[in-house]
């Protein structure tokens, strides 16, 4: 199954003490769905590098295998060929070092916000009792949900739910954050507020972040690296280094540089979108 096992073992021992953030790599990853005789290839031979402590945004036309990519990175699914590694260690399943923030909210509806946040550490038994609750409360206050910790997710607004979800991920001290279109479905106002909030968090923590979106402006605003995907079967078209200063603000989106990135990304994505449009016709 893993021909590179010996190679990865050595690099694993080199990184025996986990860094605050980790480097994620996909090497020759492919994934198909369906029975052998009727398989649809969703991801085709993708190799990408997600540098440690950087925010890499994946954009692609809608309907390409973005969520599949997330599932592979998170370890919910296994690649048919190739491998996903974190600091050289092969991903075999979901783990607390990689936290996923899901497309629509995945806060557990029968737990209060606080219970949701403390769920992970409690389940694993690494933190407990009053000190865990205190930590969770502090985190919730930090994301602006101090007054809402005893409410159920349904009682929070869309933006609050996303922030609660960020808190639920952050309390596990992950080395990698995987965000699967986390702000989809929010209204324009909350969306831009959430983007700013998320950037602020990132610029504070500098964890490895993998952020999936279908919005180019959002992508350029957030990214250090922009990975542009093709249509199904999904491959990587280009990786653009976004060289805008940090901390970022919205004004930077109107700069000539940002405009150049935007144009470049648009052209690539537009071409792909046209293809899928033609196919669906």
């Amino acid at each position: 199954m893993n021909p590179n096992k010996t190679a990865t073992k050595t690099s694993e021992s080199k990184n025996a003490k986990k860094l605050e953030s980790a480097r994620v790599e996909m090497k020759g990853v492919s994934k198909s769905y369906g029975e052998d005789w009727d398989a649809e290839e969703v991801i085709k031979n993708i190799s990408v590098d997600f540098p440690a402590g950087e925010l890499t945004v994946i954009v692609g036309p809608s309907g390409c295998g973005k969520s599949t990519l997330v599932n592979l990175l998170a370890g919910f699914e296994k690649p048919d060929t190739g491998q996903v590694t974190i600091d050289g260690e092969i991903v075999t399943g979901p783990a607390k070092d990689r936290m996923v923030v899901f497309q629509e909210t995945a806060l557990i509806p029968w737990q209060t916000t606080l219970e949701n946040v403390t769920f992970g550490p409690k389940m694993r038994g690494d933190k407990q009792g009053a000190s865990l609750n205190k930590e969770a409360e502090e985190l919730l206050i930090k994301v602006g949900l101090g007054e809402f910790m005893h409410k159920y997710p349904i009682q929070l607004s869309g933006g609050m739910q996303r922030r609660a979800e960020l808190a639920r991920a952050l309390i596990n001290e992950p080395t990698v954050m995987i965000m699967d279109e986390p702000f989809r479905g929010l209204d324009a106002m909350s969306r831009s507020l959430m983007q700013e909030f998320f950037l602020q968090l990132f610029e504070e923590n500098q964890k490895t972040n993998i952020f999936v979106t279908s919005e180019i402006d959002e992508a350029i605003f957030l990214a250090d690296n922009l990975v542009i995907l093709s249509n199904k079967p999904t491959t990587v078209q280009t990786v653009i280094k976004i060289d805008l200063p940090r901390p970022r603000n919205y004004k930077m989106l109107t700069s000539a540089k940002a405009f150049k990135y935007r144009k470049q990304a648009m052209e690539l994505l537009h071409g792909e979108a046209m293809k899928s449009f033609a196919v669906s016709k």
């Binding site: 998170a74 990689r98 996923v100 899901f102 557990i108 509806p109 389940m123 694993r124 596990n172």
Partner: protein, 293 residues
């Protein structure tokens, strides 16, 4: 301005206990709902009275009307033998309720875990689901001879039939409840490091509760239904037996009294199940309230 802030202050120290109860009662009394209910009941009784006693329409004139029934029901010396002052009336109620409690308890105790496991684990479902689906469509009355042959006495068959009927409903609903849980919650729990058993306790069980309680409300109704059917065929006491016994002896008033009593107790029992469900699922109640229900 002062009033607004005073009102806000009041809403901060929320009423509790008796105060809350009184506030709710006041709100209820001031709204139109209870009056509609009374009007509805009144209309029913009126039509019933017109058919049986007012105009004595053909075939309805054989039935006891509301006046005749209430005369007997609340009389210390009932003409046809059953009233709220006779001991046998309560014997019948007590026996039926006992049987329901046992049957519903058994069906819930067996059905809920079985359904949850069937929803949770593919192999368990593959083993059991086809059998359940084959047995389920067999009408409960078709089990009557078999249960009499199988089990001794009066109690055994009656409880068996009531249990069987509600067991199928409960099991199926618990299973569908697990199916209804969004895959994302399993993923989120997995991502956060839950073991399989944790997922069962913290995702499967609470996530299936809304379906389970819908199932239990149906199942307690089904239990009453099959209990009465069983008591009518094989029994010595109980409300179902009372109905058949009264019919055989050509006394129609106890028959109708037993029917109405069954209606009230059935209503009360599913209200209890609903209340318990709402107590256990505060999150679900809030969710429904959010949707304006």
């Amino acid at each position: 301005m002062g009033q607004v802030s005073a009102a806000r202050e009041q809403s901060h120290n929320k009423p509790e206990g008796i105060e809350l109860f009184l506030l709710r009662l006041k709100k209820k009394v001031c709204s139109v709902d209870p009056y509609l209910t009374f009007a509805g009941i009144g209309l029913w009784l009126f039509v019933y009275w017109v058919l049986c006693e007012g105009l004595e329409i053909w075939r309805f004139n054989k039935l006891p009307g509301p006046v005749a029934i209430s005369k007997d029901w609340f009389s210390t010396t009932p003409f046809q033998g059953i009233s709220i002052f006779t001991e046998t009336y309560y014997d019948h109620i007590r026996v039926s309720c006992q049987r329901i409690l046992i049957a519903f308890g058994l069906a819930t105790g067996l059905g809920v875990p079985l359904g949850l496991f069937m929803g949770w684990s593919r192999p368990i479902r593959d083993y059991i689901f086809p059998i359940i689906e084959t047995l389920r469509p067999i009408p409960i009355l078709a089990w009557v001879p078999l249960s009499i042959l199988l089990l001794p006495g009066f109690e055994g068959p009656v409880i068996f039939l009531a249990t069987l009927a509600s067991f199928f409903v409960t099991t199926l609903n618990a299973m569908l409840g697990v199916d209804s849980i969004d895959e994302e919650y399993f993923r989120a729990a997995g991502c956060l490091g839950s073991s399989r058993w944790d997922v069962f306790r913290h995702v499967v069980v609470p996530g299936a509760l809304p379906f389970i309680f819908t199932g239990l409300q149906i199942s307690i109704g089904v239990a009453w239904f099959s209990l009465v059917a069983a008591e009518m065929v094989s029994g010595d006491l109980g409300l179902g037996y009372l109905i058949v016994d009264a019919y055989m002896n050509n006394v129609t008033v106890p028959m109708v009294i037993a029917m109405i009593t069954l209606g009230f107790i059935g209503y009360f029992s599913s209200a209890c199940v609903r209340a318990l469900g709402n107590k256990l699922m505060a999150w679900h109640v809030k969710e429904l309230a959010q949707q304006g229900r």
